[in-house]
């Protein structure tokens, strides 16, 4: 079992990867999307978002390119790489296993 902080960090990575699986997006967009999708339950502050994005970029799971935003401003767009896609698949599987397992335990006790 990973420690709590690892779990949290890993979860944020998973959320970012999942969000980027649909289309490439800038940081602000990612935060908004996660917030909307979680019905405002998850609010990702810039203080954890950007270090995570940079970390994923250095790992080679996502790539970044400068482009124009919807309001025509210069923004950095992140997109999933091939390794990132494979990673997402693996992490989703892990997550499923974990939640199923936890769910089983919670139901039985």
């Amino acid at each position: 079992m990973p420690s709590t902080s690892d779990l949290l960090q890993g979860t944020l990575d998973l959320l970012i990867l999942r969000t980027l699986a649909l289309e490439s997006m800038h940081g602000w967009g990612i935060a908004q999307r996660i917030q909307q999708a979680s019905k405002d339950a998850l609010q990702i502050g810039q203080g954890s978002l950007y270090p995570a994005l940079h970390r994923l970029e250095y790992k080679g799971w996502i790539s970044a390119d400068w482009g124009a935003s919807e309001n025509n401003r210069k923004a950095k767009f992140y997109s999933l790489t091939a390794t990132g896609k494979a990673q997402l698949k693996a992490e989703l599987k892990d997550w499923d296993r974990l939640t199923t397992a936890i769910g089983l335990v919670l139901k039985q006790v």
Binding site: G27, Q46, G47, P51, H54, Y58, G60, A75, K76
Partner: protein, 888 residues
């Protein structure tokens, strides 16, 4: 892949990405503002809310940086930059540390590189640690030798060795008489020689047993060098027939490149010894031909054990030696390395010891300097810690500083070592084998660097490791006091070490002066000597040798400015080749003495002019006359010492003596023609011994000596012209007679001075290190005293405010320093007395406890150390009490 590398590079360079992060964050903020405005806020309120929600940017920036792969490198660069800036701010400290390290590392590396070859060089033989030299020693030959009969018996019955093998005792010259003629060095060895040493030829094969028998096929092994210079490394040289001394021999092998004879003599061509045991046993008056014997110990057997096991064999064969001289022969077994290095070993250890002392002093200095810096920087560390520097950061800072300093010191030290090595090589005597191949060993540089880093770290880290307390911010320090006491101990140790160094250097120096100063008993100026060795092939008979040297002497006599020319077989003050034991000399009309062998009496074969050429006065009788050269009688001149021993209170002139009757019962009788003054004849350090001179007449029997010594003569030319000119003249005259002959020309003074090469070498080196050590120790002492004075400025201010005078303060500081100095000197004196005992055998004319030396060294050290203290002491006495008290 390439893109990825490029990306990493961009991250490493790092500057751009900081701006990128800022832009990205700015965009995020703008979007938030936009969202807030869309939600109905006024633009200014929207921005305010957005900024509040956004939080601190600096931390995000930092975190983005930390996840970058180049982060560690960047931090390191930053730390290095910071360290360099610190060094620039404090140049005196930096220079002192780097110079200390340079001296320590440079000196250690250079000396260790030299000593390493002497003490730890891997001999080019398989399992060389099991190879020993075995044989007899006696007062005339102190290097192990064997006689044929002894060797065969020992070899047949010994138990401690896996194998025993022999080479001829004397390595002869031979001439390559084809193609490009050359005089070569040609050892004769047994077929078992190479296998015993564990060497196989680089090309071809070793001698076969049948080739090592008398009358066997004529074959040779040639050296790699000869193969290269004369046969162009052509593998076709195998089985080729070459002409040596006019006879065809077949080459069966080429020796490996790194091959060397166990006695380190030159070897161009190896011949099989091909000894006939039966005749060999009978030769040399029934003792057998002389040999040098080497053996491979069985595993687990030591040289001492082997010697003990050989003792019964030795006792048995002893009975063959004539009774008069029997007790003079001893058995000796020693490792090959000892045999090769002789007394150079002790010199090497002394050098090594000296250099370690210097290294210790240097380390103590570095430690002391870093500790002082640490103490002075406690406040800075406290400030940095308060501003959020983690302990890891502070420690890495200290580590980096120590590393940067060590690196700078190592580079400087390496350069110094290269320079020193050149100086050493220029000074080194030829008697230290392999010095010419010495080079700086990187392992040793590494060792010195690691050592300096370790001592830098030990003391550099200490202040960084203690978490600086807030109290430090006030500028008062408590811990530095304990550091100061450690530093004082370091200074005591430094002074003690330099005391030992100085004592050793001073003893060697005084010994060297004594050597240089002594009376040789002859005049060495305006005298040139030329040593010529004739090849045994071209000059095979006594008549040919005699004719050559007489012809050469006649030619030289008519040279420009030449006043005297003499021919002899050897020259003082070096040991002659020959000699005998006092007990062997028979006086006509007296019974054989049974007093035992007695001491060594040296002898030389000389021409009548010898005494004039060297300016040795004849004190009694006429000496040799030119007409004696044709006489059928044999004449001898005795040294004063020998004359007084043989004929106390009598006139020796006209007495008759027999020298060789022990080996040759019908040896001729010599008539004493005179007595010459004593001459230094046992080397520079040896005792002056009795000596006699035989007249070498114009008769073949006087030129019959065999081997290298029989083929060699030394010609002394006294001339009024400059040495270079006469030298050219001699060379041209030798070449006119035989252009292939090598001539070794040197002034007599040079020959004498060469004998002092080794003492000069060790004295210069040790002297240099002693001076280095002293300088370092003085720097250390100065540093500690200056630091103590700086620390106690306030206290001094208070004292002065309360009425203490300048002289009181001066006395306070000097007293403190004197305590350290005296402590160090006392410890050093004790250590020096113990250490210098080891030197006893290197010293000449001065005892290892020479009181003058100890007094001089003590006085020198105390004076120099006090001068070093005077500077900080004076600055302490100039402290302005008002300024000092304001420091609070």
């Amino acid at each position: 892949m390439f893109k990825r590398i490029r990306k990493r590079l961009v991250f490493l360079l790092g500057r751009g990405s900081r701006r990128e992060v800022d832009e990205e964050l700015e965009f995020h903020l703008e979007q938030q503002v936009g969202a807030n405005v869309a939600a109905g806020m006024t633009p200014s309120e929207a921005r305010r809310q957005a900024v509040i929600a956004f939080g601190g940017v600096e931390r995000t920036r930092e975190q983005c940086r930390e996840v970058r792969p180049g982060y560690r490198v960047e931090t390191l660069l930053q730390v290095v930059r910071y360290a360099l800036r610190g060094f620039r701010r404090n140049p005196v400290f930096t220079v002192m540390v780097v110079v200390t390290l340079m001296l320590g590392i440079g000196a250690t590396t250079a000396v260790f590189s030299v000593v390493d070859r002497i003490l730890f060089r891997a001999l080019p033989y398989a399992h060389a640690d099991r190879l020993v030299s075995v044989g007899l020693v006696q007062s005339l030959e102190k290097q192990e030798f064997m006689l044929g009969g002894f060797y065969y018996d020992w070899r047949a019955n010994q138990r401690p060795f896996e194998a025993m093998t022999a080479e001829n005792a004397v390595t002869g010259e031979c001439d390559l008489t084809e193609g490009n003629p050359a005089q070569l060095s040609c050892p004769r060895v047994e077929a078992s020689f190479l296998p015993t040493l564990g060497i196989s030829p680089a090309l071809g094969r070793n001698f076969l047993p049948e080739e090592d028998r008398p009358g066997g096929p004529k074959v040779v092994l040639i050296s790699y060098g000869l193969w290269m210079t004369h046969y162009n490394r052509d593998p076709g040289v195998l089985n080729k027939t070459i002409d040596i001394d006019g006879k065809p021999v077949r080459v069966v092998g080429v020796l490996p490149k790194e091959f060397e004879m166990p006695r380190l003599q030159a070897a161009d061509v190896l011949f099989p010894l091909a000894a006939n045991e039966a005749t060999d046993r009978k030769s040399n008056s029934g003792l057998g031909g002389p040999k040098r014997v080497f053996a491979r110990l069985k595993p687990g057997v030591s040289a001492e054990q082997a010697r003990a096991e050989l003792e019964p064999l030795f006792e048995q064969t002893q009975k063959w030696i004539p009774a008069e001289i029997r007790s003079n022969f001893k058995l000796k077994v020693r490792s090959l390395r000892d045999r090769q290095m002789q007394d150079v070993r002790l010199t090497a250890w002394v050098l090594l010891g000296t250099v370690f002392a210097v290294l210790l002093i240097a380390c103590a200095n570095v430690a002391s300097l870093l500790m002082a810096r640490g103490a002075a920087r406690q406040r800075e560390l406290a400030v940095r810690s308060a501003l959020g520097a983690s302990r890891g950061r502070l420690v890495s800072q200290a580590l980096t500083e120590a590393l940067v300093l060590s690196l700078a010191g190592a580079v400087a030290g390496w350069i110094l070592a290269q320079g020193l090595l050149h100086v050493f090589l220029a000074l080194a005597p030829a008697s230290i084998p392999y010095l010419d191949r010495v080079q700086i060993d990187l392992r040793i540089v590494g060792f010195a660097v690691v050592l300096s880093i370790v001592c830098g770290l030990l003391f550099g880290l200490a202040p960084a490791l203690q978490r600086p307390s807030g109290e430090m911010l006030t500028g008062r320090s408590l811990t530095s006091v304990s550091h100061a006491s450690v530093r004082q101990w370091l200074v005591v140790a430094q002074i003690a070490a330099s005391m030992v160094l100085l004592t050793v250097a001073m003893l060697l120096l005084r010994s060297f002066w004594n050597l240089q100063d002594q009376q040789l008993g002859m005049r060495a100026d305006n005298t040139l000597t030329a040593s010529v060795t004739l090849g045994e092939h071209n000059y095979s008979t006594a008549a040919k040798k005699m004719n050559f040297f007489q012809e050469l002497a006649t030619r030289l006599r008519f040279g420009p400015g030449v006043s005297v020319v003499s021919v002899s077989d050897s020259l003082p003050p070096a040991d002659g080749h020959g000699g005998m034991r006092y007990g062997e000399i028979l006086v006509a009309g007296r019974p054989r003495s049974d007093a035992g062998p007695g001491e060594v009496v040296r002898d030389r074969w000389v021409s009548p002019e010898y005494f004039r050429a060297l300016d040795v006065p004849i004190v009694l009788g006429e000496g040799f006359r030119d007409e004696d050269l044709g006489s059928s009688e044999h004449f001898v001149v005795l040294s004063q010492q020998l004359a007084e021993r043989l004929f106390p209170g009598e006139d020796p002139v006209g007495k008759r003596l027999n020298f060789d009757h022990v080996s040759f019962p019908d040896a001729p009788w010599y008539t004493v023609a005179g007595v010459a003054a004593n001459v230094k004849n046992g080397g520079l350090t040896g005792e002056e011994g009795p000596e006699f001179y035989r007249l070498r007449r114009n008769r073949e029997e006087d030129w019959a000596g065999r081997g290298v010594w029989g083929q060699t003569a030394v010609i002394v030319v006294r001339s009024s012209l400059p040495a270079a000119e006469t030298s050219r003249w001699i060379r041209s005259q030798v070449a006119a007679l035989d252009p292939t002959l090598p001539v070794d020309i040197a002034t007599l003074r040079e020959r004498v001075s060469k004998l002092a090469d080794q003492p000069r070498f060790q004295t210069t080196l040790v002297g240099f290190f002693a001076a280095t050590g002293l300088v370092l120790a003085v720097i250390g002492l100065y540093g500690v005293m200056a630091f103590l004075v700086a620390q106690r400025t306030q206290e001094i201010g208070v004292r002065m405010a309360l009425g203490a005078g300048r002289s009181d303060i001066l006395r306070l500081v000097l007293g403190r320093s004197l305590r350290l100095i005296v402590c160090g000197v006392v410890v050093g004196l004790v250590a020096a007395v113990v250490v210098s005992r080891v030197l006893a055998s290197l010293l000449f004319g001065v005892g290892s406890r020479d009181p003058v030396t100890y007094l001089m060294v003590t006085a020198l050290l105390i004076v120099v150390a006090l001068v070093a203290t005077l500077v900080p002491a004076r600055s302490a006495s100039r402290v302005d009490p008002i300024v000092a008290l304001r420091c609070e």
